[in-house]
Symmetry: C2
Subunit: 249 residues, 2 copies
């Protein structure tokens, strides 16, 4: 099977995440969303509200992946420096975008469109707007970088808009197999043998812990549904053999 | 005031986070924990279960920050490759650590200590164990890198152990001021003026969105409690002036 692969990274911009004040919910949301449309999230980074940090991370990520999604730092306050940092990373001028300003004129009463809010219309030269149905200011796209809000409800609305413009690849088919309370250490060797034999698929083993005991799931991923189904069957047979061996004769 | 600064990064290792299957809870937990003991989290990264990705990220982060905390990839299955990747990043040999093996011999019945589980005793030469009160295998520290489990309950227990060995800095004092429904765009200009005048402190403005409206908080952080208190007072006065101006005469 010939598969098309499209890759992405997420760059979370915000002191509030690194200080522990705010728990990030955007990485997980974007990861799941991109998987659902056939884009592979390959890396995520969280950096502080410092221009040189944002520029360095953005330039590393945009050179390496098909798309980069940033979240945070596009509001009206002094600590919102993402648009300037993105312009700097691309070596582009930044100015008020007439389309963004026109949109904001429609959405704010004229008295409310003060200089701080007008700052949110500033974008690197050549940017495309990402509409924001939740609040007045839009996000923007420049090159392969999508600049979105940090507030999850706003980010999610912008991502819906941005996603329509993405090139997408072959979706991963995912099979999740419950290993229950069979310890990972019991099935690690045969699972490793299956993983080595079935290189078309990626197999992960994921424990969770609650109420004093572990429960494990085995996840099979791959771009060819037939391969995933075959690996899943091999894993299920292996687990059934372990369960049978554990029963008293 | 003379302040001591100790920095850290988190490296989350796991396909399950990037695929969206598992929502990371470790970055936020570690961020809050480190802030509480006087260690500044400066960066976080999430990378897949690929040796070259782990090695590259770890070498970038350990050269730059005082400490690096990794989570994930230290279990018994084939997809757990963190210990080998860490050894490779440091250019160190990796082998069964006699102390780790002795600990696991105490904790597993002898029949249960199979080769897959013994893999979890493999550590880079010179590593120190990080005890794990939740499950048998320990984590480890090598140089300035702490290698911990991905399961939150296990990671948290290891972090408690690891934290005892950390050099710590001057804690940040944090003041959170509720701006309620005053829009960010209303206070952005005076807040920016306060931020520019009071450079000893860091001011962030954080909106949240629920039930169709935004609520904002302003957070002041700094290592000198007196400076934070003074900035807090300036912010509160500024917000009171905005509230007073909004009332009909």
């Amino acid at each position: 099977m010939s598969a098309k692969i499209v890759t992405a990274a997420v760059l979370v911009i915000g002191d509030e995440i690194l200080s522990g004040r705010t728990k990030d919910r955007n990485i997980g949301y974007i990861a799941e969303y991109l998987a659902g449309i056939g884009v592979d999230l390959r890396e995520a980074r969280v950096v502080p509200d410092l221009e040189e940090e944002i520029v360095a991370a953005l330039n590393a990520l945009r050179a390496r992946y098909d798309y980069v999604f940033t979240t945070g730092g596009i509001g009206p306050t002094h600590d919102d420096i993402t648009a300037d940092a993105v312009a700097k990373a691309f070596g582009l001028a930044i100015d008020e975008d007439p389309r963004a300003l026109a949109l904001m004129r429609q959405r704010y009463k004229s008295d409310d469109l003060n200089p701080a809010r007008r700052r949110m219309a500033r974008m690197p030269a050549g940017a495309e707007l990402i509409d924001n149905p939740v609040s007045p200011p839009p996000g923007f796209r420049i090159g392969n970088v999508f600049v979105m809000a940090g507030v999850p409800a706003v980010m999610q609305a912008m991502l819906d808009t941005a996603a329509k413009t993405l090139d997408t690849g072959t979706k991963m088919t995912v099979a999740t197999i419950d290993a229950g309370q069979i310890p990972e250490g019991r099935y690690a060797a045969p699972l490793g043998a299956i993983a080595a034999a079935r290189g078309e698929t990626i197999i992960g083993s994921y424990p969770s812990y609650a109420d004093g005991s572990f429960r494990n799931q085995i996840v099979v991923r791959g771009r060819d549904p037939a391969e995933v189904a075959a690996t899943r069957a091999a894993v299920e047979t292996m687990l059934a053999e372990i369960r049978a061996a554990a029963k008293p004769a």
